[in-house]
């Protein structure tokens, strides 16, 4: 250490005084955070960019020029279109069902004391943290035992099951943050319990319901592992993509991925912006 500084000392005297970089003062956390964000976004950037790649062979791996033909030809594979439609239908239904069930459960957990509350927490916690393989294998075991054919409806059942707890937790956090004085004020002004709920509580819970519904939608449209266990002959978007990994994934998949990504981000930004504006 000291030898190194000794050797370094004579040099600067003959050089122009230079702005010294104080390495301790640099905001390393910022660079690190941005590096991590870049790491996280690299495959996404790749996906978006290679949706515009003029790929000739079956493998869309090297850049061969810009084209819009995959966007023009996005529905070239009827199976892929059908898979995307199935995924969207399941995701929307999951959002609605899990939104209602999870919203009610979140309200119960946030507002009331009741027997079995700790048990409910435990079950939700287990359902969230259980590995997907276990959830999928369990559901398939039950469907096999009961001789239920797997397909669209079993996928929907599975998706609602794993996303309902996320909605409940999001809504509960919001219920706990509500000011009870507002509801008391409504009651003091003569509102019936139902009117209080409809006109005061529900509007205040709406952002959390939207956020929870968005989480359910994203979890549903994303899911591969559980879905593969309970899908039967139904193919969803992730399952179809998986099927193409051996033979080369067509660029249309990048296009659809990009569009879903764009819509998801747009919805998240709108939800955040609306929530901010209301305050």
């Amino acid at each position: 250490m000291s030898a190194a500084t000794e050797r370094a000392r004579p040099a600067p005297t003959c050089r122009r005084p230079r702005r010294r970089v104080d390495w301790g003062k640099l905001d390393w956390g910022k660079y690190w955070t941005w590096a991590v964000i870049a790491w996280l976004l690299a495959p996404i950037a790749f996906m978006v960019a290679f949706g515009f790649n003029d790929a000739q062979g079956r493998h869309n791996v090297t850049w061969q020029g810009f084209t819009l033909r995959w966007y023009a030809d996005v529905f070239a594979y009827p199976d892929l279109t059908r898979a995307l439609a199935a995924s969207l239908a399941i995701a929307v239904l999951t959002m609605l069902i899990a939104g209602v069930l999870g919203g009610l459960l979140g309200l119960a957990l946030g507002r009331f004391r009741f027997r079995g509350k700790a048990l409910t927490d435990l079950v939700m916690f287990s359902a969230i943290s259980a590995p997907e393989v276990v959830l999928g294998a369990g559901l398939l075991s039950m469907f096999l035992t009961m001789n239920i054919a797997t397909g669209f409806w079993t996928i929907l059942i599975a998706h609602v099951m794993f996303s309902v707890s996320f909605v409940a937790i999001t809504v509960r956090a919001r219920v706990l943050a509500l000011d009870p004085a507002l509801e008391e004020a409504a009651r003091d002004l003569g509102a019936s319990p139902w009117a209080t709920f409809r006109l005061v509580t529900l509007p205040m819970l709406f952002p959390a319901l939207m956020a929870g519904g968005l989480i359910a939608f994203v979890l549903s449209i994303d899911d591969y592992i559980i879905t593969t266990f309970v899908s039967g002959n139904t193919t969803t978007f992730p399952l179809w993509i998986w099927g193409t990994t051996r033979v080369g994934t067509p660029p249309q998949v990048n296009v659809m991925g990009t569009l879903i990504f764009a819509v998801g981000v747009l919805l998240a930004v709108i939800n955040a912006a609306v929530a901010r504006r209301r305050g």
Partner: protein, 311 residues
């Protein structure tokens, strides 16, 4: 996501009908209300989460074959068979999951810390940027990694062309590729719980520590780090469980010799239809992982872990 949303103004009072004497509803109806609210979700979770686990348990104790049918014979030998046959994949899954979790912690903690303490007005923007990959299907993200890291792909191709890497260099089909892929896919599960705890912390404690002549390192090690441990524990649980049970990364990025236990479960169920064996392996995996969670949850209190997740 929800707690930073501001409360909207209450609805105008004149819209409410006058309901004299109805402000306190009858005791019994009010007591039943939470159960009625919780019932639908409970029913769904009981029917499609708890019952399936039980039916898997019963399948794991069956014997027979696909053509004759499987019969419940309390065949505990299935478990011994499962462990004896697949202990290697199980151990590999735990090792890869453990490495990925440590990597997530090492990469994610500084990020969570910086956003919580220095993010300023842009905290939510940074969080959104971290969550952006979640809007792209998990399978598609992993396949994109494979294409990025392909032998002649966008990253390795140019490096080979300018001679920085030997022609035979490859990243795919190695254990580090799997661990990196797992860490990539599950990093937000580590960052969010840690961030939640750090964000809630009173940031003046750091100033207090510095007033008491603690250096920056000392202030972090003896004040911030201990206070953030609940978040770290939650993050470790939320990362370790899915990474060690995942098999997509191993299959896409790791090739044939890096099979993880999830793949065994999937192919035993869906390809070989060896249900008792498959159910037994699943239970072994679940037992190993759940033992871990419950000892963590016991040490911390489930409520606290749940609360961390909720934020």
């Amino acid at each position: 996501m929800a707690e930073n949303l501001p409360p909207p103004t209450p609805a105008p009072a004149e819209a409410a009908p006058p309901a004299a004497g109805a402000s306190r509803p009858a005791g019994r109806g009010r007591r039943a209300l939470p159960y009625l609210l919780a019932a639908p979700a409970w029913l769904w979770l009981a029917l499609f989460f708890l019952v399936p686990i039980c039916s898997m348990l019963s399948i794991s104790l069956m014997s027979g074959d696909l053509y004759q049918g499987y019969v419940l014979t309390w065949e505990f030998g299935n478990y011994a068979d499962a462990v004896a046959t697949y202990w290697r994949q199980l151990a590999r899954s735990l090792a890869y999951g453990g490495c990925a979790t440590l990597l997530c912690l090492a990469v994610g903690y500084p990020v969570a810390y910086w956003i919580a303490f220095r993010g300023g007005a842009y905290k939510n923007t940074y969080l959104l940027l971290l969550l952006l990959p979640m809007f792209v299907s998990f399978v598609l993200r992993t396949i994109s990694w494979k294409a990025l890291l392909a032998d002649e792909g966008v990253v390795l191709g140019p490096l080979k062309d300018i001679g920085l890497l030997p022609e035979a260099a490859h990243v795919l089909n190695t254990a580090p590729a799997v661990v990196l892929g797992l860490a990539y896919n599950f990093l937000p599960f580590m960052v969010l719980p840690v961030y939640a705890v750090l964000e809630r912390m009173d940031h003046r404690v750091v100033e207090a520590a510095q007033d008491l002549y603690a250096g920056r390192v000392r202030a972090f090690v003896s004040v911030v780090l201990p206070m953030s441990l609940p978040g770290v524990f939650a993050g470790v649980i939320m990362t370790f469980i899915p990474t060690s049970a995942d098999y997509i990364n191993a299959q896409v990025l790791g090739g044939a010799h890096n099979t993880m236990v999830g793949k065994i479960i999937e192919s035993q169920y869906l390809v070989n239809n060896a249900y008792p064996m498959a159910a037994a392996i699943t239970f072994v995996l679940m037992a190993v992982l759940l033992a871990g969670i419950f000892s963590y949850a016991r040490a911390l209190g489930t409520e606290q872990v749940m609360e961390v997740q909720a934020r």
